[in-house]
């Protein structure tokens, strides 16, 4: 057992006991989460799951929870070019109805601010809220803190048989120095429901987005979940997506991090019934002191479940990127297929990439494959482009974009792929 790191001053200022909400079930849940956080503390490299994520920035920066007051609108661009459709916008930690567009949701789709939904439907939501992302394990610190304190987020429900064509976006923008909003989203798709959900986390200066998205997919439900993180030098984005997939359901995760003091999208998918599927895709880039840590855990709990993972990193001088993919095949989960691939392109000798495919198999009739590679730009290809008159910086950018292209090809929204491509390898787009 490792000893939790004692809370340090800035984090303490942030981590005050949760205020009472007036709903006993919720206060009890938040109280338990708070106790868990006090017990396990902040995660850090001492934990195997956090081996490649340095949480020091969280203890060194002056961070505070949002005041809860509605900020004036900001000048920064909200959202991503080319991604239209309904959206919930959260500005400096608070839901902003003025910037949101939720009035034209199709029938069968409900999107409500977190506390509003918990107040209205406490009885039903109490059966899932805070329970998909469990608080077990020494690495539960951040999700426990999040559960204890979060009062902002969205509850998204798509009724059985409803397919929403337009993407639904959750936009989180922090423009105020030192803010550390805690987010909780709950996504429930009924049988055969379909949704494309975009979570966009943005921030200026020193800030910390800590978020948990709990997802419950009914039988044959399909969710494409895009997660785009834009943090800058001073931002820390930690986000856990906890997903359960019922029979023949499909979950797709597409995460892009492009430069953050620390960006750590963690995805854990439980394939609970036969034929449930997951496709987890991620790209990460960075330079300077940027750190990206894409971690996943996939549980194959039923026969004929499938998972595919493809993660690629583009790392320049000083940056660190890591991929940890844990796949657990439970007893009785026969005839499953699990594939994990990770590749990194190092643009400098002073970049670091770590890859850890981890397999735990307790069934005998399974197909599992994994591969990891680290390389540099292909010199022959670089010369070929330059020998045709293309300047070196552009040639490098072309090859860098080509490297991540197969991952971006999997992204369901071309505008999201373009967004990621522009950040990983700026230049003209093909």
């Amino acid at each position: 057992m490792s000893t939790p790191r004692p809370l340090q001053a800035p984090t303490l200022a942030l981590a005050r006991a949760p205020r009472q909400t007036g709903f006993p079930w919720l206060d009890a849940l938040r109280g338990r989460a708070w106790e868990t956080f006090r017990r396990v503390g902040l995660p850090g490299p001492r934990l195997d799951e956090w081996k490649y994520a340095d949480t020091h920035p969280l203890t060194q920066a002056e961070l505070r929870l949002p005041s809860g007051e509605m900020p004036p609108a900001v000048n920064a661009q909200v959202g991503i070019d080319g991604i239209d459709g309904p959206r919930a916008v959260f500005l400096d930690g608070v839901f902003h109805p003025g910037l949101s567009r939720l009035d034209e949701l199709p029938e069968g789709v409900r999107v409500r601010p977190l506390m509003e939904a918990l107040a209205e439907d406490g009885e039903t939501l109490a059966r899932v809220y805070g329970l998909i992302a469990d608080l077990d394990g020494a690495d539960a610190g951040l999700r426990a803190l999040d559960l204890a304190l979060a009062e902002q987020g969205a509850v998204i429900e798509v009724a059985a048989g409803t397919a929403m064509e337009a993407p639904l976006s959750l936009v989180h923008l922090v423009s105020d120095e030192g803010l550390a909003p805690q987010w909780r989203h709950l996504v429930i798709l009924g049988e055969g429901a379909r949704l494309t959900l975009v979570e966009h986390y943005q921030g200026l200066g020193t800030h910390w987005h800590n978020a948990v998205t709990e997802i419950d997919l009914g039988a044959r439900a399909e969710l494409d979940h895009l997660r785009l993180y834009e943090a800058g030098e001073g931002g820390v984005h930690t986000h856990e997506a906890w997903v359960r997939v019922a029979e023949a359901g499909r979950y797709g995760s597409y995460a892009a991090t492009a430069g953050a003091r620390l960006a750590r999208p963690y995805t854990t998918v439980s394939l609970e019934a036969p034929e449930a599927r997951a496709g987890l895709y991620g790209v990460y880039g960075g330079s300077g002191r940027h750190q990206a840590d894409h971690s996943t855990r996939t549980d194959h709990r039923a026969p004929r479940t499938q998972s595919v993972q493809l993660f690629k990193g583009v790392l320049d001088a000083g940056a660190r990127g890591a991929y940890t993919g844990r796949v657990v095949v439970h007893p009785g989960a026969q005839k499953i297929e699990a594939e994990q691939r990770n590749a990194n392109l190092l643009l400098s000798r002073a970049a670091e990439a770590d890859a850890r495919p981890q397999l735990e198999i307790y069934a005998d009739d399974v197909k599992c494959a994994h591969g990891a590679a680290v390389g540099e730009l292909d010199r022959d290809a670089l010369f070929y482009l330059r020998a045709r008159g293309i300047g070196e910086p552009e040639a490098r950018a072309i090859l860098t974009r080509a490297f991540v292209e197969d991952v971006l090809d999997a992204f369901p929204l071309p505008a999201a792929a373009r967004w990621a491509r522009e950040r990983l390898a700026p230049g003209d787009n093909p």
Binding site: F383, L385, R388, G389, I390, A395, A402
Partner: protein
């Protein structure tokens, strides 16, 4: 009559080149005037591709002595992209496959980089498509190849045609064709030769590396040079090609005082 005629375009003087401590080229002298076609022949491993690569600016080759002047400028001081923009084109003996990069995107980037350098407006997608389709028809390149990754999965012949398509698009001043004929069937050879001949003119020169007389039948060179063990051991007019076809290289090597292993070479 071009004002350029009989003006030197490329002058190579006493060029010595080393790769990883091994000396490959040993004092090459070669002058290519505007409008001329030079063929370079010679046994495998004699340094033909090395010469072509050094002219195009590929890294990994160390010039230990000599100089190369192109359009009156020090060629060796120029980075590869600048050489290309100034009109040097190397058709690769082994064109490089670039997964993930669309051929048409690559071609457009190349054409616009060169146009920009020449002070011409860049072509937009529509204009470029029109241009590339015209050149593809000339070179008999299938349109489908535009939308595949650069050279990826192309057959040997398709790769060579793609090289010639690039040459036609970039309209170089000095085209260096490294075994453009290898791996081509007879029809493809004729198409490629037609493509080259269509570009021939008083303001454009060619250096063609080849093992076969047949190419020289379609593209008649002004000069033929035989390179062996890093040296030009014989230069002549196109009758030399017939002689080589009949007699091989042995007699030339002997006359140069080299045996088959290159012993005796300075």
């Amino acid at each position: 009559m071009s004002a350029n005629e009989k003006q030197p375009l490329l002058v190579i003087e006493d060029l010595w080149v080393q790769v990883e401590d091994k000396t490959i080229l040993k004092g090459i002298d070669l002058t290519v005037n505007y409008g001329e076609v030079h063929a370079i022949m010679g046994p495998n491993g004699s340094g033909k591709s090395t010469l072509a690569n050094v002219l195009a600016g590929r890294e990994g080759y160390e010039v230990t002595r000599g100089k190369v002047t192109y359009k009156g400028r020090d060629l060796l001081a120029m980075p590869p992209e600048e050489r290309a923009r100034e009109g040097i084109f190397l058709a690769f003996q082994y064109p490089v496959e670039i997964p993930g990069v669309n051929n048409i995107y690559f071609l457009k980037a190349a054409v616009n980089a060169v146009r920009k350098h020449r002070g011409l407006p860049e072509l937009d997608a529509m204009d470029f498509l029109e241009l590339v389709k015209e050149k593809m028809a000339q070179m008999k390149v299938r349109e489908e190849m535009l939308y595949r990754a650069v050279n990826e999965g192309f057959s040997g012949g398709e790769k060579k045609r793609n090289e010639i398509l690039q040459m036609a698009l970039l309209e170089p001043t000095l085209a260096i064709l490294d075994e453009i004929d290898s791996g081509l069937d007879i029809d493809a050879l004729r198409d490629v030769a037609d493509g080259v001949n269509a570009l021939r003119g008083p303001d454009r020169s060619f250096i063609m590396v080849t093992h076969y007389q047949r190419l020289l039948h379609y593209i008649e060179p002004d000069h033929i040079h035989v390179l062996a063990y890093g040296e030009v051991i014989r230069s002549g007019d196109r009758t030399l090609a017939h002689e080589l076809e009949e007699r091989g290289y042995g007699w030339l090597l002997e006359e140069a005082g080299m045996d088959a292993q290159g012993a005796g070479a300075p």
